[in-house]
C-alpha cells in the first residue's frame, strides 16, 4: 500500500509540475508581451508549441549523446520535482534533503553540455560554456542561501523547513525571519532562470540561442518541456524556502506564480550582461548579502 502510494505520488508530481509549468511559461510570455505593449499568445500556446515540435515528421539527430543529453536535461528536472513537496504530496522530499536537490538541479545543465557537444556547432559550444559559467556563478549564492536556511531551521529537509514556517503564519516565514537570505535567494533565482540580464547563454541575436542551436523537432520539444519544469522548480523552491510552502493548493499556486513573476517583470526591462559581468555581479552582491544573512542566522 505504502509503495503504491509513493508510486502514485512520484507519477503525479512531475505531471502537476508540467501543467503548472505550462501556465508559468504562458505567464512569462504574456508579461513580456504586456511590457512590450502587445496582446501576447493565446491560453494554450505553450501546449501547441510542444505538440507541434513533437509532431515534426523529420528529426535530425547528431548521434547517441545528442539523444541522451536531452533525456538527462528533462530527467534531471523530473527527478527534482519528486523532491519538491506540494500540498498533500511529499513524494520523496522527506528522504532527499536540500543537498540532493541542489545536486540534481545541476544534472540538466550537464546533460545539455553532453548533447550540445556532439552537435559540433560552434554557437552551441559557446552557449554551453557560457551556461556552465553561469551555473558556476549562481550556484555559489544558491548554496550559501540553502545553507543559511538549513541552519536556521536546524534541518536540511524541505518538509521540516515548510512545517517550521507554517507554525506561526507570516511571522514565521523565511522572508520575515531572514530577509537578507531571501533577497540573495531571489537574486540567485533570477540568475538560475537565465532571463535578462543574465541571459548570456541563450542570446538569440548573438550566438543563435546557444545550446538550442542544433535542436529541432522533438529535441527542441524536450527543451520546451524542460523550460516548464525549470520555471516550476524555481518558483516552488523559493516558495518552500522563504514563503512558508503551500498550506493548500490555492496559496501554493499564488505564491509560486508570484515568485516567478518577479524576475520576469524585471527581466524584460533590461538588455544582456557580458559573461564576466554576470560572474562579477552574482559573486559580489548576492554572495555578500547571503554571507551577512548567514552571520545573522548563526549569531
Amino acid at each position: 500500500m505504502d509503495a503504491l502510494h509513493i508510486l502514485i505520488e512520484l507519477t503525479l508530481m512531475p505531471l502537476v509540475a508540467f501543467v503548472v509549468g505550462l501556465f508559468m511559461v504562458l505567464m512569462m510570455r504574456r508579461i513580456a508581451a504586456r511590457i512590450q505593449r502587445r496582446v501576447g499568445p493565446p491560453l494554450l500556446q505553450p501546449l501547441y508549441d510542444i505538440l507541434k515540435l513533437y509532431g515534426k515528421q523529420t528529426q535530425i539527430s547528431h548521434g547517441i549523446l545528442h539523444d541522451i543529453g536531452i533525456i538527462m536535461a528533462v530527467g534531471g528536472y523530473i527527478a527534482a520535482e519528486t523532491m519538491l513537496p506540494v500540498p498533500g504530496m511529499n513524494g520523496i522530499a522527506d528522504k532527499a534533503g536540500l543537498i540532493t536537490l541542489a545536486y540534481v538541479l545541476m544534472v540538466p545543465s550537464l546533460g545539455l553540455a553532453l548533447g550540445v557537444g556532439q552537435c559540433a556547432n560552434p554557437n552551441g559550444s559557446i552557449g554551453i560554456s557560457r551556461a556552465l559559467t553561469a551555473m558556476l556563478a549562481y550556484d555559489i549564492p544558491f548554496v550559501i542561501v540553502i545553507f543559511g536556511v538549513a541552519w536556521q531551521a536546524g534541518s536540511n529537509n524541505l518538509v521540516d523547513i515548510i512545517a517550521l514556517q507554517q507554525v506561526d503564519g507570516i511571522a514565521s516565514w523565511g522572508i520575515v525571519q531572514t530577509p537578507l537570505l531571501a533577497f540573495a535567494g531571489l537574486f540567485a533565482l533570477h540568475a538560475i532562470l537565465g532571463k535578462h540580464p543574465f541571459e548570456i547563454y541563450i542570446a538569440p541575436a548573438e550566438i543563435a540561442t546557444g545550446p538550442m542551436v542544433e535542436m529541432g523537432g522533438k529535441y527542441l520539444g524536450g527543451l520546451f518541456v524542460m523550460q516548464c519544469f525549470q520555471l516550476y522548480t524555481a518558483g516552488v523552491i523559493y516558495t518552500s524556502l522563504f514563503l512558508g510552502g503551500g498550506e493548500n493548493w490555492l496559496t501554493f499556486l499564488v505564491k509560486s506564480f508570484a515568485v516567478v513573476a518577479v524576475p520576469i517583470c524585471i527581466a524584460y526591462l533590461f538588455p544582456r550582461f557580458r559573461t564576466e559581468d554576470v560572474v562579477r555581479l552574482v559573486w559580489k552582491w548576492p554572495v555578500m548579502l547571503g554571507l551577512i544573512g548567514i552571520a545573522f542566522v548563526m549569531n
Binding site: 505593449r37 502587445r38 500556446q45 505538440l51 515534426k56 515528421q57 535530425i60 542551436v213
Partner: protein, 231 residues
C-alpha cells in the same frame, strides 16, 4: 532555358485514416501545427522592413502563435523577403534543407514572384518556386504588415485543413528542383543535406525523386569533410 514545368502538381489528398482515434489525432496535430509557427526570416530584401511592425506592438504576430526563431533547425516557416540574388539563393537552399519537416516557404514581395524590378538583372533568380516549393506568395512592393498577416492567416487555414504539403513536393520531385538549381549554379552544385537519403528514410520517395540531374549530382558529389580546426 529553364524548363517551365508547372510547379504545384495537383496533389492527391491524403486518404483519411480509417481508425477514428487516429483521425482525431491527425486533426489535433494539424491544429497544433497551424497555431504554432516558428518563423525564420531570410531578410536580404527590402520587404524585411515590413516584418518588425508585423511582429511588434502594432500588429503582434504572437497572438496568432507566430514567433521568430533564429536557426533553421527550430523553424517551420522560411520567409524570403524580397529579391533573391543567385548568391543568396544558395544560402536559402542550404537553410531550407536544414529545416525539419513539415516546413513552409513564403515568398514576400513581387521580386520572389517574378523578379519584380530586377526582372532584367543577370544576377537575380526570378521565380523562387523553381528552386524551392513555395507554399504562399504575398505580392506587393512591398506588402503592408496587414497583407503579411493576412497571408500568414491563409497559411494557417491551409495547414489546419491539411492542404499545405508542398514540402513533400521537394522530396517527390527533387530531380526537377535540383535541375533548376544546377542550371543556375553550375554542375558542381551540392548541398550538405542528403535529400535523397531523407526521402528514402521517411518514405517520401516519388517517381521524380531520381533522374538525370540527381545522376549528375552523384557523379560530382564529394563526401562531406569535417572542417579543419584552426586557431
Amino acid at each position: 532555358m529553364i524548363k517551365d514545368i508547372p510547379i504545384i502538381a495537383e496533389q492527391a489528398q491524403q486518404p483519411r485514416r480509417t481508425n477514428p482515434l487516429a483521425h482525431v489525432f491527425d486533426e489535433l496535430m494539424n491544429f497544433a501545427r497551424s497555431r504554432s509557427l516558428f518563423m525564420l526570416h531570410y531578410c536580404t530584401g527590402c520587404g524585411a522592413i515590413e516584418l518588425p511592425p508585423a511582429m511588434t506592438s502594432r500588429f503582434d504576430m504572437e497572438r496568432l502563435g507566430i514567433q521568430p526563431m533564429v536557426t533553421p533547425r527550430q523553424a517551420d516557416i522560411l520567409l524570403v523577403t524580397g529579391y533573391v540574388s543567385i548568391k543568396t539563393l544558395k544560402r536559402i537552399i542550404l537553410t531550407y534543407e536544414q529545416m525539419g519537416s513539415p516546413k513552409h516557404v513564403i515568398g514576400i514581395c513581387s521580386c520572389t514572384v517574378n523578379g519584380g524590378m530586377y526582372w532584367q538583372s543577370y544576377a537575380t533568380a526570378k521565380k523562387l518556386d523553381e528552386y524551392l516549393p513555395v507554399d504562399l506568395y504575398i505580392a506587393g512592393c512591398m506588402p503592408r504588415p496587414e497583407a503579411v498577416i493576412s497571408g500568414l492567416q491563409k497559411l494557417i487555414d491551409n495547414i489546419k485543413h491539411g492542404k499545405s504539403d508542398n514540402w513533400k513536393d521537394y522530396y517527390q520531385r527533387y530531380d526537377h528542383y535540383l535541375g533548376n538549381q544546377q542550371h543556375l549554379f553550375g554542375n558542381n552544385w551540392q548541398t550538405p543535406t542528403d535529400v535523397i537519403g531523407e526521402a528514402r528514410e521517411y518514405g517520401l520517395f516519388g517517381p521524380q525523386t531520381l533522374g538525370q540531374h540527381t545522376e549528375l549530382l552523384e557523379s560530382v558529389q564529394k563526401p562531406l569533410q569535417p572542417l579543419e580546426m584552426k586557431l
